[in-house]
């Protein structure tokens, strides 16, 4: 029997509204990573520095009043904006943040271009904005694990262990400062990765371009700074800008002794990077160059 004689069924069921069409793309982008053990292990590794914060919270709240431990505990750093700022931008976590950004972000658009599935997706009732939102949200969720999510867990621990909200009222900036940092820092990183990913067909090329721009950018800044001792050259280093941004958002002291980065410069860096990335995305998608 020819295959086409097996009967065609007409679909008469309901359809989801147009505005929700990004959700399957988001799900398909995010779920496969949870099946990759190495990737999950990497995420767990990223939370290790935050265990230090949780331990400090425990010691201060549970042992702070014990006579035998009082002296020891008072010498330990307290959980406040300064500590959270350090936890957010410690070099170990920043390194892992970039690894995750490359792992997830490099293939966001490039993989669809490589597999030629971008035509197929955009040939459905999915707008370019929905497509980019789904892809960006997938990377954003993973970057939350390096920013707002562990902070929130730390705050919950702090409030839960003390049994009162006094600490939270006193350190409310920990929450909104981290939220602001997340929106500006990792948010811009998501836009940057999307833009970079839309410019190539190979995720590997995108990954290498990111490494070249970020890691070598950092190294170049370090070399120039060593020679000139002018910290304004950090303006071209993403990791240092993220560190400075966290300090500014959380009202912590500048991260480096010689840092003279003005808040306006930090704002300019992120605004510039976000605008350039958005412009690339607009150009690539509105003129459909990304499909060629």
């Amino acid at each position: 029997m020819p295959v086409y004689e097996q009967g065609y069924e007409v679909y008469e069921g309901r359809r989801n509204p147009l505005g929700s069409r990004w959700k399957p793309l988001f799900r398909e982008e995010i779920l496969p990573y949870f099946k990759k053990r190495r990737f999950v292990f990497l995420l767990v590794l990223a939370l290790l520095p935050w265990l230090y914060g949780v331990a400090l919270t425990f010691l201060h709240t549970q042992l702070g009043d014990a006579d035998w431990a009082k002296d020891l505990v008072t010498k330990l750093p307290v959980v406040d904006e300064k500590l959270v700022s350090k936890l957010l931008t410690n070099s170990y976590d920043l390194f892992l943040l970039f690894i995750v950004a490359i792992w997830v972000g490099s293939g966001l658009v490039a993989r669809d271009r490589k597999d030629m599935t971008l035509d197929v997706f955009l040939g459905r009732a999915v707008t370019s904005v929905q497509y980019l939102w789904a892809k960006g949200a997938a990377l954003g969720v993973f970057l939350l694990l390096f920013s707002f999510l562990p902070t929130l867990i730390l705050v919950i621990f702090q409030v839960g262990l003390t049994g009162q909200a006094g600490w939270l009222v006193e350190h409310l900036r920990v929450l909104w400062g981290t939220l602001l940092y997340t929106a500006i820092g990792p948010g811009t990183l998501v836009l940057f990765m999307l833009a970079l990913s839309s410019m190539a067909r190979s995720p590997r090329v995108v990954g290498l371009a990111f490494i070249a721009l970020v890691f070598f950018g950092d190294m170049a800044c370090g070399v120039v700074y060593a020679i000139t001792k002018v910290s304004a050259v950090w303006f071209f280093s993403l990791s240092r800008e993220l560190t400075a941004l966290a300090s500014l958002c959380l009202g912590a002291p500048p991260p480096y002794a010689s840092a003279d980065l003005h808040p306006a410069l930090v704002a300019l860096f992120f605004a510039g990077l976000a605008t350039a990335s958005a412009a690339v995305l607009w150009a690539r998608f509105s003129r459909r160059g990304v499909l060629r």
């Binding site: 065609y8 679909y11 459909r288």
Partner: protein, 312 residues
């Protein structure tokens, strides 16, 4: 009401005009979109899907303006891309279900529907295999399943039989025929003329971004030059008959089997052939009307405009 009505579409790639005022109408059934490489077939399909922006012009789908429909238009259209268009590492059923969800089907309905269409295209036994393990024919059928999953009214097929073996090709064409029987409209872009002949009642010929011709195959065949195979009996080896045909302004090409291949202009018919045969001092022993193949029609359409068809 026509299913698809295209009005003066222009598409530009930089300073190059990829489509130049394309206008045609599709009433339903299967329509072949023909043209040599670079004629603008794929660009036209992408323009209909909104994958390339229109410089000017518009089109109506089921009587509704595409601009008013917006992205919702693509819920009524299914698309089989020419190029790969499948995600490695995904099973056939997961891929088709994802496409169903992107077209608005709820998750559960999309999975159920994916199973149905995969069975319809004959991939029910391979549906859990990863797409990268599929053969070329299976991939084409999987793409067709993806295009059908949301039950569209119009199917845009871009070279659907490309790279397929004869059996697979026949199966794919059979599927397309059945889809047309279900009341769907199929726009088949291909450079394989036999596929169009086998499936389509109407053709639109594109060349250098312009519609060269757009009529029903039947009408066109009737209106064009007629081809006959004629056996002439008389003195000599037919030189007199060939000369008489020449005088009448016909092409008479002798074949090895002793027959003449005659090409008569529209308006002339069998009576004229018998008359010329008598004038040449002989008679017609055998007379066969040859069907004008689409390929000849296609080449004639291009040659009329003095264009090269080397790309075909």
């Amino acid at each position: 009401m026509s299913v698809l009505s295209v009005h003066d579409i222009w598409v530009k790639y930089g300073s190059t005009d990829a489509l130049r005022g394309v206008t045609f109408e599709v009433q339903g059934g299967a329509v072949g979109l023909l043209g040599p490489n670079g004629a603008g077939k794929s660009t036209l399909i992408k323009a209909l899907l909104g994958l390339v922006p229109l410089a000017s012009g518009a089109f109506d789908l089921m009587g509704q303006d595409s601009r008013a429909l917006g992205p919702a238009l693509r819920d009524r259209v299914g698309y089989v891309p020419e190029r790969e268009g499948l995600r490695p590492g995904t099973s056939g059923v997961a891929w088709v279900a994802l496409l169903g969800e992107l077209s608005g089907l709820p998750r559960r309905a999309a999975v159920e529907r994916a199973h149905e269409v995969l069975q319809y295209v004959g991939l029910e036994e391979s549906r859990y295999r990863n797409v990268e393990t599929f053969s070329t024919g299976m991939r084409q059928r999987l793409k067709l399943a993806g295009a059908l999953v949301h039950d569209p009214a119009l199917l845009l097929l871009d070279e659907p039989t490309s790279g397929m073996d004869p059996v697979g090709r026949e199966e794919m064409l059979g599927l397309c025929r059945d889809i047309v029987k279900q009341g769907k409209t199929v726009l088949l872009s291909t450079h394989i003329l036999k596929d169009v002949e086998a499936l389509c009642a109407q053709v639109v010929i594109l060349h250098r971004g312009q519609v060269q011709a757009g009529v029903s195959v039947e009408d066109w065949t009737r209106s064009e030059a007629q081809h006959f195979l004629v056996q002439w009996e008389g003195e000599g080896r037919g030189e007199a008959f060939a000369a008489a045909c020449g005088r009448a302004g016909w092409s008479a090409e002798p074949r090895k089997d002793g027959l003449f291949k005659l090409v008569l202009p529209a308006g002339e018919g069998p009576r004229s052939v018998f008359r010329v045969a008598r004038e040449a001092g002989g008679a017609v022993n055998r007379f066969v009307r040859e069907e004008t193949s689409l390929e000849e029609l296609f080449l004639s359409a291009l040659q009329k405009n003095g264009e090269s068809h080397a790309g075909l």
